[in-house]
Symmetry: C2
Subunit: 302 residues, 2 copies
């Protein structure tokens, strides 16, 4: 990326982040609603400076097939609720036992373990409440919405994110092969990223061929994203990542750089981005945001 592209991307991402943040704030109850502790805990983690990659991918995918971003905004936000719930539960003492995330104390350090568990539960539940809110998505045929809910639930559940997390947890401190690492990556991060891209397209009336190309793009981008995350975890400094770097290695977690080295991992991520771009080569300029995001994934510093 040259200087100009970089600036365009930064502008695009911050504008999209603003749209997503505003919508999340609108969709979620305020901290004065009873019982306030749950809404404080939910909002604490939801508005903790997340990159909003999943909602932004969902919106960009809608645009790529000529859709309207307003229409897909509730589902885009629901994806962020699911992502946030997974972070809260992952950070719990019984799982990753992390005290910091994005430079701030984790949810359970501030609100206690009990409220953190319940805040995660509430976010996951609210994701489905929001996605089934017909009034917000009158333009979408109900059967499309059901397909999207079904796909996202699968991606978030035991055959997706939860399954990946289970294998990840059980692999700690063990020698893990590339197949297992691939399983963890594709389920824990990849599945929901693919669903994010598919959701935007499906809700915008994309055809089979478009969906196939976008799913392929998303699979590559999601995988590259996780590898880049692993690399940042090894190399990044505490300030950029907002948590103790090297913590995965300390915990005996297997990562891509750990298994195949930093350079090979970096090359793998770049190859994946090229493959992602290839998958959507027949899309017109409306897919440019998707193209930019793919490049951002491997160039980001935090």
């Amino acid at each position: 990326m040259n200087e100009g592209q970089n600036e365009a991307l930064r502008g695009y991402l911050s504008e999209r982040r603003r749209i997503v943040d505003e919508a999340l704030d609108r969709f979620l109850p305020g901290e004065d609603v009873y019982p306030p502790s749950i809404f404080m805990a939910v909002r604490y983690s939801l508005f903790a400076g997340g990159k909003r990659i999943r909602p932004i991918l969902c919106l960009a995918s809608a645009e790529a097939v000529g859709g309207n971003i307003e229409t897909v905004l509730p589902v885009a936000c629901a994806l962020e609720l699911i992502h946030t719930y997974s972070l809260i539960h992952d950070d719990l003492p019984a799982i990753d036992n992390d005290d910091y995330r994005r430079g701030r104390l984790t949810n359970h350090k501030v609100f206690g373990e009990n409220i953190a568990i319940l805040a995660g539960d509430a976010l996951l539940t609210e994701a489905f409440h929001l996605m089934s809110e017909r009034n917000l998505m009158e333009a979408v045929p109900p059967e499309k919405l059901l397909t999207v809910i079904h796909d996202i639930a699968r991606a978030a559940g035991y055959f997706g994110m939860v399954g990946g997390q289970v294998v990840d947890v059980q692999s700690e401190g063990k020698r893990v092969d590339l197949d297992t690492l691939y399983y963890i990556h594709t389920r824990k991060t990849g599945a929901l990223i693919i669903s994010s891209v598919k959701a935007g397209a499906l809700l915008s009336g994309a055809g089979e061929d478009e969906l196939k190309a976008l799913s392929s793009y998303a699979g590559d981008v999601g995988f590259a994203f996780q590898i880049a995350d692993d690399i940042l975890n090894v190399e990044g400094d505490r300030k950029m990542m907002g948590k103790d770097t090297g913590s995965d290695a300390d915990r005996g977690k297997v990562t891509f750089p750990g298994l195949m080295g930093i350079e090979a991992s970096r090359q793998k991520a770049k190859d994946l981005v090229q493959s992602a771009l290839l998958a959507i080569r027949h899309f017109d300029h409306r897919a440019d945001p998707l193209r930019m995001i793919a490049e951002f994934v491997v160039e980001r510093r935090s």
Copy 2:
């Protein structure tokens, strides 16, 4: 209830429980599916001898308005998945810290806290995956299914079950008034029971008047159920309840018997059942199972 009615009810409930258990077994992956630990943990709690009250209410409500129980079975099972997830998370050390439930070790005592948290997450997610499975419910108009998903998500989330649990957790060891206790009861148990009854009726094409009557029935029954649970917690013996009785009081939890005494609580539960029966007085004999269940709630011994 006389002897004959009692026998009819027992037969009805055990037959319904069998139908629900078989369907749950069919809908859920086996313990040999990868990663097996999550499916073992999920099935351990799901097939732990639950009464299946929510699914049975859902089926009975469908019948009461002339619906087909096969049609509502996936949603009925999803309600049990949500109920089971809530039990697993409630039992966690950070929340109620219970070692036993229904006479068996709790999920986290067998599988560890990390898997128990993830098993709860997986069950909640799978509930929405199952409810959005169009192939299983082709007879249901998609917009009805969305309404049901939306209603159940609300009942399970921060304005329902999770909200009730938050207030319950924060009330431990504190002096709590009747309003707060009512809030906890109606949210923590009542909301999902009302949604169970509404779901069965909605999926079977019930009209507005029928829905209103059934919601009123369910509110009363759910409340009576929780009071009866509180009474059993105080009076029941360990064998019947499968957990240490008196444990709510030990923990400083406020209960109905604790606040207004056993006798007044028992009377209140009976009054609620009468009110429930009154709400569905215009329904024909197809609502008899609902009538029986209402009476069962206050007469059950475990």
